[in-house]
C-alpha cells in the first residue's frame, strides 16, 4: 500500500497527487513513469512522474475515465494498492545546447522535471506551455522557476500568445538555432507540433502514452511503430524520435477500449451518485 500524502486540484478535472513510494522516488529520472493500481479490482495505468521530493513521487492527471476519476476522488491519507516504477528509459540528454521543452494541456505535467534535467546538464532551456484557456494552464510557476525563458499560449488568447505552442515554436525556429526539443501532450498535438521541427532537422522527442498493462515489456500492448519497426513504449520509450513515430497507428490503438471505458465510467459514476436509476447526469 502506498500512502497519498497530498492532493491538489490544479485545474478543471486536473489533479496533482504526491504518493509515498521510496523505491520509485529514489531512482526516478526525467522522462520516466509509474504504473498505478488503485485497488484489487483496479487496472494498471501508466502516469508520468512529474516530480520527486524525498520519498514522494508526484503524478498529475486529468480525470477522464473510471480510474482517473477514482484516483481524483482519493484524499490525503488514503492509499493506492500499487505503485510500480520508475519505468521506461530516462530522457536522452545533451549539454551545452539550447533545449525547448513543450507541454500541451495535462502534458505540461511532464515538463518541469525534463526542463530541470536539461538545465542541470548545462543547457539553455526554453519552456513553451499551452492550454485551451488560462484556467486550464498548469505549473506555470514551476516552469518559470526552472526555465531560462518561458512562453505561454492559450487557444482562446486568455493568457500569453493567442494560438498554439507550435506557433511559438515556429517563431523560435525562424529566429535561432535549437538543438533539442521535447513535445509532450495529446497524440495529435505531438504529431502536429513535432512536424514543425522536421524541416529544420532539429532532434525532437515525444513521450508516447499508449495503453499498457505490465509496463515491463511483457505484453506488447503498448507497441508503436517507430521508424517502421515495432517498439514497446514501456521499455524502449516512452520517449521516441518524434520524426520516426507513426502517430496515426498510435491514435488508433489508444481508442481500442473506448466502449469499455464508457461502460466502466458510467458504472463508477452510478455507484457514486447514490440514486436508484444511476444514469449519466453526473458525467
Amino acid at each position: 500500500m502506498y500512502k497519498i500524502e497530498e492532493t491538489t486540484q490544479l485545474a478543471d478535472r486536473v489533479h496533482q497527487i504526491w504518493i509515498r513510494a521510496p523505491h520509485v522516488a529514489h531512482h526516478a529520472q526525467a522522462g520516466q513513469f509509474v504504473i498505478i493500481r488503485i485497488d484489487e479490482q483496479g487496472e494498471r495505468i501508466p502516469l508520468t512522474i512529474s516530480g520527486v521530493n524525498g520519498d514522494l513521487v508526484r503524478v498529475i492527471f486529468m480525470a477522464v475515465g473510471k480510474t482517473t476519476h477514482h484516483l481524483a476522488s482519493l484524499a490525503a491519507g488514503e492509499h493506492v494498492r500499487d505503485v510500480a516504477g520508475p519505468l521506461g528509459r530516462p530522457s536522452e540528454m545533451i549539454s551545452g545546447g539550447t533545449c525547448v521543452v513543450i507541454g500541451g494541456g495535462v502534458g505540461v505535467a511532464s515538463t518541469p522535471i525534463i526542463a530541470k534535467a536539461a538545465k542541470d546538464a548545462g543547457n539553455h532551456v526554453i519552456g513553451i506551455i499551452g492550454a485551451r484557456n488560462a484556467g486550464l494552464l498548469i505549473l506555470e510557476d514551476e516552469m518559470r522557476a526552472v526555465c531560462d525563458e518561458l512562453f505561454i499560449t492559450t487557444d482562446d488568447g486568455s493568457k500569453g500568445t493567442h494560438g498554439f505552442v507550435s506557433d511559438v515554436l515556429k517563431t523560435l525556429l525562424a529566429e535561432r538555432k535549437l538543438d533539442l526539443v521535447w513535445v509532450i501532450g495529446p497524440a495529435i498535438m505531438m504529431k502536429v507540433t513535432s512536424g514543425v521541427t522536421q524541416p529544420f532537422g532539429v532532434k525532437t522527442f515525444v513521450s508516447l502514452n499508449p495503453i499498457m498493462v505490465d509496463g515491463s515489456g511483457m505484453c506488447g500492448s503498448c507497441r508503436v511503430i517507430v521508424g517502421g519497426e515495432t517498439r514497446f513504449a514501456c521499455v524502449d520509450g516512452p520517449e521516441f524520435d518524434a520524426h520516426q513515430v507513426d502517430f496515426n497507428s498510435l491514435m488508433a490503438r489508444q481508442r481500442v477500449y473506448t466502449e469499455e471505458e464508457k461502460v466502466a465510467l458510467e458504472r463508477h459514476q452510478a455507484a457514486h451518485c447514490g440514486c436508484e436509476e444511476g444514469g449519466n447526469h453526473h458525467a
Binding site: V24, R44, G85, V213, G215, A252, E260, V263, A264
Partner: protein, 448 residues
C-alpha cells in the same frame, strides 16, 4: 482422474481436472511396482523420491507423502497440475510398456492438495542465519524455488517482482482452469513463510539499480521469457490483435473476464483466431472459448508436431477449439480493427535441427478465416531489460543468459536459471534450475 463435463466447464474458469479422491489415490498408488531402480525419479528434473511418496499414499499416510515431495519440490500442487509428466516421470515408468504408467502427476497433486486443505505444517524458518544476502529477480517457478532452497540454508533472500503479484507465469500466464490461483497463492505463501522477503512493484534495473543489485552477496536472475514474439505480418497494429501474453495477462492476472467488476477490459470477440501450437496457444484458445467466442487455432506444422502437452490439445478439442494444421497467417485484414486472417497452406519439407519438419508455404494456396480477435502465441524470448542494463553478462544467440552447469553467469556471484537461460521451457525445468543455482550459491558461500 476425471475431468469436468465440457458444457459445464467452458462456462467458467474453474479447474477442469477433478483430481483423485483418497480411495482413488490409494488404488492408483497400489499399482506402483516400487522399482529398486526407479526410472521415474531419473525422469524428474527436481529428483522427487517418487516411489517413497507413492508408497506413503498407498499406506494412507498422506501427510508423509506430502512431506516427502516437499523435500525436493516446494510447489507440488502446481507441478502436479502443469508438469509434462508424460515426457518425464510417467514417460519413464516401467508400467508404460505393459499397462498405463502410474498417474504420478495426479498423485502428487492429491498429496499436495490433501495437505494444503488441512493447513500446512509450515516449515520452520531456518534457525541458523548465515547473514548472507541473496537477491532473486523474478518470482516465477525458478525464482521461488531458488528462494525457498536458499532460505532453507539460512540465507536472507529478497525476491524482486515487477508485477503487483508474485508467481510470474504461474500468475499471469497459466489460466485458472488449469492452475487455480488460490493454489498458486498458497504455495507462494509457504515459500514466504520461510522468511523470504518479497518486494512487488520492483522492476530491477529501474526500481533497484544495477550497483544496488550487484551489492548483494549473490544474485539469481530468473526473469523468465516474457518478451512476446510478433509475426511481423501486415495488419498487426490493428485493434483486436493481441500477443498471447497480453491476452492471458488481461484475463489471468487482471481478471478481464469479470469486467466491469474488475476494471481491465479485453476484447472477447465472437470469432477468435489463435496462431501457434504450444501450451500458451492452447491456453489462449481455451480462454477465448470461455469468453464465449468461436475459436480456430492455426498451426504451421502437422497435428503430431504440436508442441503442446497432449492433454492440453485434447482438452482444447473437447472444448470446441477448431485446429487447422499446416497453415500459417500471412496477413491480417481489416480497417483499423481486425476482420479476418489470411492464411497460407504449409507443406512439410526436410527436418529441422529439432527433428521436426520444416514448413514451407504453398504458393497460391491461401484462405481467409473471419476473425474479430487475433492472438499470436508464437513464442516468447527472454526479456532484455535487465540483461542489457548489467554490463559483463554473456548473452546467447536467442537473447538468453549464458550459464554453466551450476547456473553461474559470466559474473562470478550472479546466477541465472529458468526461461531466461533456456528460452521458454517448462515450470519444472525452471524449478530444477532454481535448485541447482541455490545449491551452487550455498557452496560458493561455504568456500568463501
Amino acid at each position: 482422474m476425471l475431468d469436468r463435463k465440457v458444457n459445464e466447464r467452458i462456462r467458467d474458469f474453474h479447474e477442469v481436472a477433478l483430481g483423485f479422491s483418497a480411495d482413488e489415490a490409494i488404488l492408483e498408488a497400489e499399482r506402483c511396482l516400487q522399482c529398486k531402480k526407479p526410472l521415474c525419479v531419473t525422469g524428474c528434473p527436481v529428483g522427487i523420491d517418487i516411489p517413497a511418496f507413492i508408497s506413503a499414499i498407498a499406506a494412507g499416510d498422506f501427510s508423509v507423502a506430502a512431506t516427502t515431495i516437499k523435500e525436493q519440490n516446494m510447489l507440488p500442487a502446481i507441478c502436479g497440475r502443469v508438469c509434462p509428466q508424460e515426457t518425464q516421470c510417467e514417460g519413464a515408468c516401467v508400467l508404460k510398456n505393459k499397462d498405463t504408467p502410474i498417474n504420478i502427476g495426479a498423485l502428487e497433486r492429491f498429496a499436495a492438495d490433501w495437505e494444503r486443505e488441512r493447513g500446512f505444517s509450515a516449515e520452520q524458518k531456518s534457525r541458523e542465519q548465515t547473514g548472507r544476502r541473496v537477491a532473486v529477480v523474478g518470482s516465477g517457478p525458478a525464482g521461488l524455488t531458488a528462494a525457498a532452497e536458499l532460505a532453507r540454508r539460512g540465507h536472507k533472500v529478497t525476491i524482486f517482482e515487477s508485477l503487483h503479484e508474485a508467481g510470474g507465469v504461474l500468475s499471469y500466464g497459466i489460466p485458472a482452469f488449469r492452475l487455480p490461483k488460490e493454489i498458486v497463492k498458497a504455495e507462494i505463501d509457504q515459500v514466504l513463510a520461510m522468511g523470504v522477503d518479497l518486494k512487488v512493484n520492483y522492476l530491477v534495473g529501474r526500481s533497484v539499480s544495477v550497483p544496488e543489485l550487484l551489492a548483494f552477496d549473490a544474485v539469481f536472475i530468473a526473469t523468465g521469457a516474457g518478451l512476446p514474439g510478433f509475426m511481423g505480418i501486415e495488419g498487426e497494429q490493428m485493434n483486436g490483435v493481441y500477443s498471447a501474453n497480453e491476452y492471458l495477462t488481461r484475463v489471468n492476472l487482471m481478471h478481464a473476464d469479470q469486467f466491469p467488476v474488475f476494471d481491465t477490459p479485453v476484447k472477447a470477440g465472437s470469432r477468435v483466431v489463435v496462431a501457434g501450437g504450444g501450451n500458451v496457444a492452447m491456453d489462449a484458445a481455451r480462454v477465448a472459448r470461455r469468453m464465449g467466442a468461436r475459436v480456430t487455432l492455426v498451426y504451421r506444422r502437422r497435428e503430431e508436431d504440436l508442441p503442446a502437452r497432449r492433454e492440453e490439445v485434447v482438452h482444447a478439442l473437447e472444448e470446441g477449439v477448431e485446429i487447422i494444421n499446416c497453415a500459417a497467417p500471412i496477413r491480417l485484414l481489416g480497417d483499423g480493427v481486425v476482420t479476418g486472417v489470411e492464411c497460407v497452406t504449409m507443406k512439410m519439407c526436410g527436418l529441422d535441427g529439432s527433428g521436426r519438419p520444416t514448413p514451407e508455404p504453398v504458393a497460391d494456396q491461401t484462405f481467409v478465416i473471419d476473425a474479430d480477435v487475433f492472438i499470436e502465441a508464437i513464442g516468447q524470448s527472454p526479456n532484455p531489460l535487465l540483461i542489457r542494463e548489467v554490463s559483463g553478462l554473456s548473452i546467447g544467440a536467442r537473447g538468453n543468459l549464458v550459464v554453466d552447469d551450476d547456473g553461474r553467469t559470466s559474473i562470478g556471484h550472479v546466477f541465472a536459471g529458468g526461461d531466461v537461460a533456456t528460452g521458454a521451457a517448462t515450470v519444472i525445468l525452471a524449478m530444477g534450475a532454481g535448485k541447482t543455482a541455490a545449491a551452487a550459491i550455498d557452496r560458493m558461500f561455504k568456500e568463501q
